[in-house]
Structure formats: C-alpha cells, structure tokens
C-alpha cells in the first residue's frame, strides 16, 4: 500500500523525524487557510498522488503568499498528473500539501528498504538527492550502505557517514538520527520502502526531510488495521482493484490483446511472447490457485470492459489446485450468461486440458484452438490487428 507524502510525513513525524511544517488541503480555500497558518512567505504546493517524477509533471510548485497558494491549488486539484509511473491517463489530484519552503544548501538521498539478495533491511544514502535522482537506487555504485541495527546507527558509523557525505559532525548526527528512526519505523510499521528524496541540509545548518515515498507491505496489513484508513482506493486502477476481489492479480497495459493466464511468471511470459510476435498486450493476469469458475468469469468481463481489447488470448496451464477446466468454464459462463464474448484464442496444457477444450466446444464458444503457445499468440496478434471494435 503506497502512502501519500503527507501521510508518510505525519507517520514519520511521530518518530521525531524532522519535516517542514505543512498543511494538507482538498480545496483552494483550505490551501489558503493552510498557507495562513504556516505564516505565508515562500511555500511549496505539492500534488498528492502516488507517483514519482511529480516535479517534472508540474505537480510541485514553489509560490509566495496565500493568494498564489490558493491559485496554484485551484489549478492542481482536479487536474490529472501524468508521469512515467502513472497509468497513461494519469492520476487525478484530490489533495495538495502546502509546506514551508526551506533555504536548501545541499540535497541528499536516503532510503530504507528490503535488500532481497541478502535477506535483510538495508539503509542506504546517496551523496546526491533531489529531482533527477528518482532512480538513485539504480545507480548502485553511488549508494553508500549505512550499517545499522536495532539500536540504530552507532557513533563510528555516524562519523564515517559524515565523512562520506562531506557534512559536519552535527549534521551527520542529525542524519544518523533520521536514519535510525526511519529504520525503527520500517520494522514497526511493516514498511516495504521508505525513500527520502531529498533530505535537505539547509543554510542554517539543519537537516530536514523534504520528500518521502513510503509503502506498507500489503501482506502485513493484518497487523496494522489502524493504517487501513490511509489507503487511497482511488489511486489504484479500478479494474485492478476489482480483479483483486476475484482472486485475480491484474495489471492494465496499453495494448489490445486481453490475456488470461495463471501464475505470475506465466503471465509475464505471455506478455513477452505477444511483444515478440509484434502484438500489444492489454494486461497482465495471474488467476490465483484458489479462484473459482465465477471469479474467472468476472476477470474476463473486466478484460472486456477495457474497450481497447479486441481478442482474448487464454493459455491456461493446469496445476495441482487450479485446473484448465476452471478457466474454460469461466469463459463459457461469460458466453452463456452474457450471450456474447470477444473472439477467444485458446491453448491449454497440464491438468484438465482435454476437458477444458471439450467444455468450450460443447458450449459453442467462438474459440480458435491452437496447438502450441506460439500458434495461439500468432493468431491473437493477427485477430487484434485485423479487427476493429
């Protein structure tokens, strides 16, 4: 579950992590009010959406005075922000965060995250932070790992940190406190990522967190019912949200070939096969092992709701729990109950292959049966290319 910046700052503020004073607003009036409470002056207005690259997309603006805050807030709220990390149509801004602007001398990047290769929680910093460093984590050579344990960052490591970043001993101590507390919050809140980009060293020598990206491990939400209210359902693609209710992992893509597969790996493989054959997948789909026929049917209806989809490519591989016939019955059920279905290209393997093919044939579903995955993919690409909807 991704948190908004203002939510993360609120949570981390409780751990004593220094953040600028700020106010969240859902309207221009509220933004003006917030600006007044902050004492006016130079302020930052930030669109609250779950996506990086906000600055480049015009979602972060530096303004001065209450009137300009209200003006910018009015323009941002209701607007859609499109960045490399949003769906193609962007995300609508519902709230802005108004914050005191600081006189920044230096920006540093830091993150707490699960280091999967070493199966531990790592704390890392990068000499450079700020916009344009959205991908700081990918430049591993610039990352400095900070040794930290349950007691936080010790004195020797703090000294090393100060030297590595060329900051004063006091600033290093302040940074170490931030990292220690962030690590504690990471464990206590079951975070999967806390990313500070940037932490600012201000001209008066202070160290303050300017922006935070924070996610909570969805699998651990059962331990944190109190965090449930922070979930912003509007931030999740409505189709993806609905699919989740049907035991289906689903992610929307930009193409016109609807994919029905089970298993995350196989779902990814289907996308690669379609791309290799010159087609464009409309989605990723992983029908989970315990899904029922009716849930599969709902998944297929979801696919068809995306008006770009022209063909359904179903390639079930039956296993020990989910059999091909469940997928075929789901397809048949849509056809029978809705009286229509998009053209289906079908290739099955594994448990229930034969019976699943029989089901589709007996129900008269308009399906093309392919002898191999390649043939199925080629046929789906052909139909998608020739058919307009």
């Amino acid at each position: 579950m991704n948190l908004h910046e203002y939510q993360a700052k609120e949570l981390l503020g409780r751990y004593g992590i220094p953040v600028p004073r700020g106010a969240v607003a859902s309207s221009a009036g509220e933004a003006r009010e917030g600006a007044r409470e902050l004492g006016g002056g130079t302020l930052v207005v930030k669109a609250q959406v779950h996506a990086g690259d906000r600055k480049a997309a015009g979602g972060i603006r530096i303004v001065s005075g209450e009137a300009e805050v209200a003006d910018v807030a009015a323009k941002l709220i209701g607007r859609r922000i499109v960045t490399s990390q949003t769906p193609p149509e962007g995300i609508a801004v519902k709230k802005v965060y108004v914050e005191q602007a600081l006189d920044v001398e230096r920006e540093i990047y830091a993150a707490v995250l699960v280091n999967r290769a070493e199966a531990k929680v790592s704390v890392v910093v990068n000499r450079q932070g700020g916009s344009g460093v959205e991908s700081a984590l990918t430049q591993r050579e610039n990352l400095i790992e900070v040794a930290a344990d349950a007691d936080g960052v010790d004195a020797a490591e703090t000294k090393r940190l100060g030297e590595a970043l060329s900051i004063s001993a006091e600033q290093a101590a302040a940074l170490a406190r931030i990292l220690s507390e962030a690590r504690r919050a990471f464990f206590e809140l079951d975070a999967s990522l806390i990313e500070f980009n940037p932490i600012a060293v201000t001209r008066d020598g202070g160290v303050t967190v300017l922006d935070v990206k924070m996610s909570i491990d969805d699998n651990a939400m059962f331990r944190h019912p109190e965090l449930e209210e922070l979930r912003d359902e509007d931030e999740i693609d409505p189709l993806e949200r609905e699919a989740h209710r049907f035991e289906i992992n689903y992610a929307r893509m930009d193409g016109n070939i609807g994919i029905v597969t089970s298993g995350a790996g196989f779902g990814l493989a289907a996308i690669d096969m379609i791309k290799a054959a010159g087609g464009e997948p409309a989605n990723f789909m992983d029908v989970r092992p315990m899904a029922s026929r009716d849930q599969v049917a709902e998944g297929i209806r979801l696919l068809a709701r995306d008006k770009r989809v022209r063909v359904i490519l179903a390639m079930p591989v039956g296993g020990g729990l989910l059999h091909c016939d469940t997928i075929a019955e789901g397809i048949s059920s849509v056809f029978r109950k809705d009286g229509k279905i998009l053209p289906v290209v079908y290739h099955a393997a594994g448990t229930g292959k034969e019976i699943s093919e029989m089901t589709l044939r007996n129900q008269g579903v308009p399906a093309a049966f392919a002898d191999s995955m390649e043939e199925a993919v080629r046929e789906a690409v052909r139909i998608a290319g020739s058919r307009t909807r």
Binding site: Q85, A119, A220, G265, A269, K275, D286, G318, G319, E374
Partner: protein, 292 residues
C-alpha cells in the same frame, strides 16, 4: 537418485487439517509419499488422514522423526511455523504459503543461518521427485520419473516445462519451486549445485523472472563450475512495466537493476542455453542432450 527428497523421505504436514493441506496430503499419500504425521495446535492426539496429529513440531519430531515438513499454514502464522520447524531441526522445510509479510521472511532467514534446516519457498509449488515423493501443490500428472532437474520461481511455467519434458520422454529427476517471494530459501544456485552432483539428473532447467539476483548467482556458479550437464533457462518479464506489482511479490525490485534482459545475458555468457519462449524449453533440452 534425485535431490532433496526420495521414497525414503518421511514427511510432516504443518497445518494438516486445512482444506488445501488435506487435499494435497491425501494426494501425496495416494502416490506413495510417506506422510508420517501432522501438526495443528489444539488437535494434538487426534488423527487426520489416518496419521497422528500433534500440537507442536517438537512433539511431532519426537514421535515421527520426519526428514521434511510441508508448511500449509496461513500467512499470519507461517513464519512462526517455519521458526518452529527450524528449532526442531527438521532438515527440509517446504513452505507453499503465499502473501507472507516480507519482514517475517527476513526474520526466518536470520533463524535459518547456521541452523540444521534448509528452506524451500515460501510461495512455492513445492518439491517433487516423481514416483517417489511429493511435498506441495503441484499436479501429479504429467510428472514422470526421468533425468531433467527443474528449478523455477513460478508454478505454471514449471508445469509447462514438466509437460514438455514428459512428452519428449525425458522425464524429471526432481522439480523444485524456489518460490516467487523476494526473500526466500534455496535459490537457483543451491538447486544447481545439488542437480550437478546428482547422478540421475542429466540436464537442468532454470525458470526465472525479473528481480532479485538468483539467476545471476546461478550464472556465477555455472561460470566457475563449467558443468558438462546442459542448462536450459527461460526468464520471463522482459517487457514487464517498470515499477508495477505483477502478481508475485518477487517481481517488485526497488533496486530495479536486475532486469530480465540482464539475467538472460548473464546466463548466456555463463554457458546456459536461454530460450526465448517457455514452449521451447523441452526441445532445447532434448537437442542439448543429443549433442552431449
């Protein structure tokens, strides 16, 4: 021979009274797997599927001396179940549970270090040595005893490889689901090492996907070992949209650097045969074995 499990393996089921566990334990017993007992707190002293049920793993270990334990415990309690098995020194722990909190797995891995246990999973289809022993949720058919060792992150891609190697009359020595979670037990390199040492295994299939560095570690091992046995690999996720969660927890990677393409390059340069489609795994393996 085979790896990890064979007909002598004595298997415990943790969470044996659950619906899926019951189905899968029944299937294991029907196929000849030696299921020696189950664990379900509060049901100690009862019997289920005609095997004794215990309150704790320690009790079960004392009474039944299992070589392996299958974890079919809901995500809320799965880490505790694994910890219990580690403490009771069960040699092989196979966890099929999905959606375990990642920090729980960090703690489990800490407990595993220096212990007497080996972990497969979580979010794994399990381990099967066809005709001898199965621990997991995989189908029985089309597995057939044979000479190909399979290690895969995902279940369905592994089943596809099983289907192909069975049709081509190669069969499987053992198939291991290393699981789709970011923090997990045995990796590809661990499986590879065992398969290389196993006489029954003549060829090895690795099925990976973007994220993590399991494939890279396997490539390193290949580079240093230069094995005679052919290794065929398939890596999914070349076109996965960046920064999106795609089913497997394992497919989110904040480091972002381990792309499917990088993995393909690493394995190729280490001498593995990397196929472009999962449907080509079986054929590539047959050809490679002919050449040998």
């Amino acid at each position: 021979m085979s790896i990890l499990i064979d007909r002598r393996t004595r298997v415990l089921f943790q969470g044996i009274t659950g619906r899926t566990a019951t189905r899968m334990a029944e299937r294991a017993i029907a196929g000849g797997t030696s299921v020696v007992g189950g664990v379900r707190p509060g049901k100690g002293g009862t019997r289920h599927l005609n095997v004794p049920v215990f309150d704790t793993v320690a009790d079960a270990v004392n009474a039944t001396e299992p070589d392996a334990t299958a974890i079919f415990v809901p995500p809320e309690h799965a880490a505790a179940a694994m910890m219990e098995a580690i403490e009771a020194e069960v040699p092989l722990i196979v966890c099929v549970t999905e959606r375990i909190p990642v920090l729980d797995m960090v703690r489990v891995k800490e407990a595993l270090a220096g212990s007497k246990s080996r972990l497969v999973g979580p979010n794994s289809y399990g381990v099967i040595t066809p005709g001898q022993c199965r621990i997991g949720v995989m189908p029985d058919r089309p597995h057939t005893p044979g000479k190909i060792g399979i290690a895969s992150r995902g279940a369905t891609l592994a089943y596809a490889a099983v289907d192909q190697t069975t049709r081509l009359e190669l069969g499987q020595s053992t198939s291991v689901g290393i699981g789709g979670d970011p923090v997990h037990g045995m990796g590809f390199a661990d499986c590879l090492e065992l398969f290389l040492a196993d006489k029954q295994t003549e060829g090895i299939v690795l099925i990976g996907e973007l994220g993590g560095d399991d494939e890279e570690r396997a490539a390193e091992l290949l580079r240093s070992e230069k094995p005679k046995k052919p290794v065929v690999a398939y890596i999914a996720g070349v076109n996965a949209p960046p920064g999106r969660r795609m089913g497997h927890a394992g497919t989110v990677d904040p480091f972002g650097e381990h792309s499917a393409q990088a993995k393909i390059e690493a394995l190729k340069s280490a001498g593995a045969i990397v196929v472009e489609s999962p449907s080509l795994i079986g054929h590539a393996m047959r050809q490679a074995l002919w050449r040998h």
